[in-house]
């Protein structure tokens, strides 16, 4: 069995999770501070990919990144890089599709963060960066971890937008999900089933991790409330 699709899916998910991790944190942190009107609008725009069909996201991305589209053509002319049909083209797709998951989970965690901790910290002479990384992050740890795991899982299974941006080239852009589709289409049920089982195993592990994190968080809350 050729394990390339697993390797490719994992590297796409890993890169896009790393990107979305920081984007999501920054968005959740800064959007909490803007006026309510702007906040509502940004919130809607940033959450849109969560409810749009992935093929629509893929289509919109191709409108921007395709080799004959403005951004795609410019990058091709300037750097000689084609933004579509490579393995990392899929990262564009997974970043956009998974961003809302990270953003919304982290925002939820930040909203339950007691802002007086940050206010007290500032009066004590602690810098904004220190308070963010050493107080806010550890206190919101579980929500952030849960968001990261969800993001990774979603990126790993992304099909619609990925197949439109990266296509299916065995050994180059094939991921687990595009491979399953291709095998089924060409009537290779045995190999298709094997990949389905691999996918099920990964999903089970991820869900287990999310559940453990959430249970821990729940206990933490009860504990805090009693004291």
């Amino acid at each position: 069995m050729d394990w390339f699709p697993l390797y490719n899916s994992l590297r796409i998910a890993a890169v896009s999770t790393a990107v979305v991790f920081f984007l999501g944190l920054a968005a959740a942190y800064y959007i909490a501070k803007v006026p309510p009107m702007v906040k509502g609008l940004l919130d809607m725009v940033l959450t849109l990919p969560l409810v749009l069909p992935p093929t629509v996201v893929g289509y919109l991305l191709l409108l921007a990144l395709g080799p004959r589209r403005p951004l795609g053509a410019w990058v091709l002319d300037t750097f000689g890089l084609k933004l579509t049909m490579t393995w990392w083209s899929a990262v564009f797709a997974t970043v956009v599709v998974t961003f809302p998951l990270m953003y919304r989970t982290v925002r939820g965690a930040f909203e339950s963060f007691d802002e007086t901790l940050a206010q007290a910290g500032r009066t004590l002479g602690l810098s904004g960066a220190y308070l963010f990384w050493r107080v806010r992050m550890p206190v919101c740890r579980q929500g952030i971890l849960a968001g990261t795991v969800l993001t990774f899982a979603r990126a790993l299974g992304e099909y619609g937008a990925t197949s439109m941006l990266a296509g299916y080239t065995p050994g180059r852009t094939a991921t687990i999900s595009t491979t399953v589709y291709q095998l089924w289409r060409t009537d290779q049920n045995g190999p298709a089933l094997r990949w389905v089982l691999v996918n099920l195993a990964i999903s089970a592990v991820v869900l287990l991790a999310v559940n453990l994190l959430e249970r821990k968080e729940g206990q933490g809350h009860v504990f805090n409330r009693e004291h």
Binding site: Q119, G121, R122, T123, G125, L126, Y130, H227
Partner: protein, 347 residues
């Protein structure tokens, strides 16, 4: 060392207008009912909230000046703020909470300063515990140790005892006073409890509806509160609308249908009368004596509290309260006297 604050801020319909200075007297109590702007004032001083306009100066350093566009961030103000709920970092132990705030100090001295603070605030045994494992008193001491670690030049206390039940309050109040005694800078102590202010601060400023009254000492405030809000905080039970009487030296209380002699001369702006002491009249006394109906008597721990209705009071008028040291509860009709010196004209 002194702290001078003169700020204005609008929050919707609420207007804050505070003008205070600690002067040479180190500790100042900011006294007021809840919602009067006490916490907002502290937040403006600490730099958490931005005043609309005004001026804040600490020991010759300008912290905020809307005219000169100075607005130091909280980190540079060196103003310690003890939050009502202490705001300890829950992810750090007691020692870590304190050590995090020693960053202004040279590295070589941090270790010994941490030990010093743990001993000073009796937290050596709790150094490796997390805030949720501490009692209320230990949490407060940790918060104070953390503030002292940051080497502030002034300390603000936001209702420091309100999170505690009354048994602990006494003990913690003493501990807090002791810990603050060695602190050389100004201390602003926010409270709604006059007793607390009296025990811990020499000077006091009453804040009412966002407006600050002139800073005064506590004895003066108790003797002559000046405003209705101050009188209420000073424990006055009898506060009624008043207008000048027909003859000079008299005042009329329409609610109770009374005209009484008043030692203080009438002045413009007076809206209410505070009665400091009301007692049963003795035989032969006739000045400022009037008959009252006893409505009900409530027994307090060591005294009696009587609700009276002066004859001639309008229907629906508030009762006249009288406190008695004990003895037989009065009943029926009672002759009552208020000394002209005990009638205070309030704005």
């Amino acid at each position: 060392m002194s702290l001078t604050v003169s700020i204005e801020k609008r929050c919707g319909d609420f207007r804050l207008n505070v003008d205070i200075s600690t002067g040479s007297g180190r500790s100042l109590a900011l006294l007021g009912a809840s919602g009067c702007g006490k916490s907002l004032t502290l937040k403006c001083i600490a730099g958490i909230e931005r005043p609309g306009r005004g001026y804040i100066e600490l020991d010759g350093r300008v912290l905020f000046d809307s005219g000169a566009r100075v607005n130091l961030p909280p980190q540079k103000r060196r103003v310690g703020y003890l939050f009502q709920q202490y705001a300890l970092f829950p992810n750090m132990t007691v020692a870590e909470n304190i050590a995090a705030c020693l960053r202004r100090m040279e590295k070589s001295r941090r270790r010994s300063r941490l030990e010093e603070l743990l001993i000073l605030l009796r937290l050596e045994g709790q150094r490796n515990l997390y805030p949720r494992q501490l009692s209320g008193g230990q949490q407060q001491r940790t918060a104070l140790a953390r503030i002292l670690a940051s080497e502030p030049q002034a300390i603000l206390l936001d209702e420091p005892l309100s999170a505690l039940d009354s048994f602990l309050k006494w003990q913690l109040e003493g501990e807090l006073r002791e810990a603050l005694e060695r602190f050389p800078g100004p201390v602003v102590w926010v409270t709604h409890d006059l007793g607390e202010a009296r025990r811990n601060c020499r000077r006091v400023c009453v804040l009412d509806g966002g407006q600050s009254a002139p800073v005064t000492d506590l004895e003066t405030l108790m003797r002559n509160p000046g405003t209705v809000a101050a009188a209420r905080l000073s424990g006055f039970k009898n506060l009624v609308p008043v207008r000048p009487g027909g003859e000079p030296g008299t005042v009329e209380i329409p609610d109770w249908g009374l005209t009484l002699h008043c030692a203080a001369p009438w002045r413009a702006g007076v809206a209410a009368l505070g009665l400091r002491e009301v007692r049963p009249a003795e035989k032969g006394e006739t000045d400022n004596v009037f008959p009252c109906q006893v409505l009900r008597v409530t027994e307090d721990l060591a005294s009696l509290r009587a609700a009276l209705r002066p004859e001639g009071a309008l229907p629906g008028a508030p009762p006249l309260w009288m406190e008695l040291p004990g003895g037989t509860p009065p009943a029926g009709l009672l002759r009552v006297r208020v000394s002209p010196a005990d009638l205070l004209l309030l704005e």
